[in-house]
Amino acid sequence: MTAANPTLDALRDDGGVPLRTRLRRAERSRKLRYAALILPLALFVLVVFVWPIASLLARSVDNPELRDNLPLTLAALERWPDEGLPDAAVFDTFARELEAARGSPAIAAIARRLNREHTGLRSLVMKTARKLPLADGADARAELPAIDAQWGETETWRTIRRAGSPLTAFYLLSAVDLTTDASGDIVSLPDGEAIYLDVLVRTLVMSLVVTALCLLLGFPLAYLMATLPVRQSNLLMILVLLPFWTSVLVRVAAWIVLLQNGGLVNQALMALGLTDAPVQLLFNSIGVYVAMTHILLPFVVLPLYSVMKGISPAYMRAAVSLGCPPWRSFWKVYFPQTLPGIGAGALLVFIMSMGYYITPALLGGPQEQMISYFIAFYTNQTINWGMAAALSAVLLAATLVLYMFYSRYFGPTRTGQLQPR
């Protein structure tokens, strides 16, 4: 091969090493150096980002309660053909494992898990556990149905087997108001129990409103900052950044002071004669929107500003000199060039508001609680990791879908114009 190629032959050094090999060697050491440089960052990302998210997502499908506490029963149930009642060995093993779990948190976990599959199983388990142990030599297959008739039903054992599978879609389905019925089909939750889709829609709507408000307020502000003389624009920049230097809690507290019934805003409204009685501004959507818009405004102003700063005033002048009136020039020439900034700012604000917790929690009423409130509720109060993880997964999925939408319509290939249409 190389012999047929005189130029490649000529490219051997004194040691007779072909050029390509030498190049590969040189490249390899360079690549190793680069790899060594990014290794700390890669590890960091892995440890604080990839791993927690992955384990969180794993939590949303994890199903440990029965697997850990009734392992032998589940193993014995493997051989059951799903028809009639399981054989005596299953009943015996079950009675023994249930007895062993008695008096420890394990029994509560089993009861809670089974109750989640089928309401009423909690009391059945607790009641049965109290009656254990059975007398020596007693036939569990006969005794258990005597304690409660449900042990004599095929459905109960099917439920145990289903609840014992290593993975469960239960939490994820619940997070979007779905469940499985007795036959294993996915069905919607009845109206009274379905809440998370509403919460998700509410979260999306509130984030959209906040994003729109931020854009409406932020666009003129960024435009002013980009066009005013340095001194004034620096002042504006400080005003925009000021909120960054105070804690979110302090800002929220300040809004409470301003918006409460006897607060400055209401006093001003009444002094102006716009209203007789104080307007309720707190613990409803007004307070949440005001505070969230205020807190998130810099995230739309800064990207917009940096994009606008890069748009030469010559474009507007060129448009005007070509005969286009100033307003129209702004719309047709300036505005399209700000789209990357609008996209980036809106995405940032939207994604941040999707996960917002503290402001709605402190300033909103029950109707303003967003999805993160429920995540916090499940992690802090009921210690239901499965549900918290599933809601987080839904939030993550919504965010990713949104990001894909963004990169489709605002991403570099759309606005960088590097490809002809």
Binding site: R317, A318, S321, L322, G323, S329, K332, P336, Q337, Q417
Partner: protein, 383 residues
């Protein structure tokens, strides 16, 4: 006496800038100040003739762009009036002026293709679609960019962007086209090519072009007339040849082309000629420019290519001693640097074929400074 003649000359020069019959644009007594303290443009009178290629030339900060911006309508004069085709346009907003403009960095809209850029001024004017396409095609053909319609500006080379900008400024048939250093960002070769191309486009279209540059060779190459700016004042407005051969003052003489300036004092004046005593005591005869009368300080100016070595036939009064300091061989010609009177950077430029013997460095020689090539000018006022 001599002084009076000189003043009359100035009055005559003023009269020449009174409104012209074929002026497309006339700017009268224009003043412009940005800060209310200093005048960036001071008392500008300028007539732009229909169909001419006028270049505004001057050093950086001399007010060329300001002047152009007032024409385009992006700046308003602090006082004075601007007429376009007879109508005062001081208060006319820029989008109603129908003036094409090419910006230094082209200002092609980055989010539009070449085609969309070109259509922009026409759709704004609500022309019918067929008319738009025909005009765009003609303009793109003119700048030899047919086939590039669907590229974005970033996908074009600097020279191509330049052409698109030019075509866009011309596509709506404006009566006046303004260009602010449009070639500044191009490399030398491309710049020279574009100079000729723009000149030819001007000739074929017959529109009026106003071109701003601070590159004098660019101005000389392209223009019908050149207005030389300095510190907000037009120093001279004339054809390239006249500017070069008969600069109105020391600034123009030194700004356009190479120039040797010898300081001296006017001794007296005899019609067309003045005699000037140089600092060494030697006396030279020179055509009278804007130099003052007897006793006034003056500068005697001569172009390097007009300097010759003295021959036997050279009259005594034309002879000036010099000492050669450096000899530079440039292939087709030779440059000699020498000390003459108080000037130790005096340059002579001569084709090698015209030289019998080349003086070497350190040699004492005599130069021939013919009065018809010498010009006595008033020294530059201190800035």
């Amino acid at each position: 006496m001599h002084r009076d003649i000189f003043v009359d000359d100035r009055v005559a020069a003023r009269a020449a800038t009174a409104p012209e019959a074929d002026a497309l644009v006339s700017m009268r007594a224009i003043q412009k100040s940005y800060d209310g303290r200093s005048l960036i443009v001071a008392n500008l009178d300028l007539d732009i003739r229909r169909g001419e290629f006028l270049t505004l030339l001057g050093p950086s900060g001399s007010g060329k762009t300001t002047c152009l911006m007032m024409l385009a309508g992006f700046e308003t004069p602090t006082s004075g009036e601007i007429r376009l085709a007879g109508k005062i346009i001081n208060r006319l907003p820029p989008h109603k002026r129908d003036i094409g403009m090419v910006f230094q960095n082209y200002a092609l809209f980055p989010h539009m293709t070449v085609l969309e850029n070109m259509r922009f001024p026409l759709t704004v004017r609500k022309l019918p679609r067929a008319g738009i396409d025909a005009k765009v095609k003609r303009a793109l053909d003119m700048v030899q960019l047919a086939g590039f319609e669907h590229r974005y500006p970033q996908q074009l080379s600097g020279g191509q962007q330049q052409r698109v900008a030019l075509a866009r400024a011309l596509v709506f048939d404006p009566q006046l086209v303004l260009m602010d250093e449009p070639l500044g960002a191009l490399d030398k070769q491309l710049r020279e090519h574009m100079q000729l191309e723009i000149k030819h486009i001007h000739q074929s279209l017959g529109a009026t072009f106003v071109f701003v540059t601070h590159d004098q060779s660019e101005a000389l190459t392209m223009s019908d007339r050149i207005a030389v700016f300095d510190r907000g004042v037009i120093q001279q407005i004339d054809t390239p040849a006249n500017l070069y051969e008969n600069p109105a003052n020391a600034f123009v003489a030194s700004f356009i082309g190479e120039n040797n300036a010898l300081a001296g004092t006017v001794l007296g004046r005899d019609g067309e000629l003045s005699s000037v005593r140089l600092s060494t005591g030697a006396c030279v005869l020179a055509r009278t420019g804007d130099a003052g009368g007897a006793g006034q300080p003056a500068i005697v100016s001569i172009r390097p290519e007009r300097v010759r070595l003295a021959r036997d036939a050279t009259p005594l009064a034309w002879r000036v001693p010099a000492r050669v300091t450096e000899q530079i061989y440039l292939g087709d010609h030779i440059r000699l640097r020498m000390t003459v009177a108080d000037c130790d950077n005096f340059t002579m430029k001569t084709p090698i074929s015209k030289l019998d013997r080349c003086p070497c460095a350190g040699e004492q020689i005599e130069l021939e400074l013919a009065p018809e090539h010498l010009l006595a000018l008033a020294p530059n006022p201190a800035p």
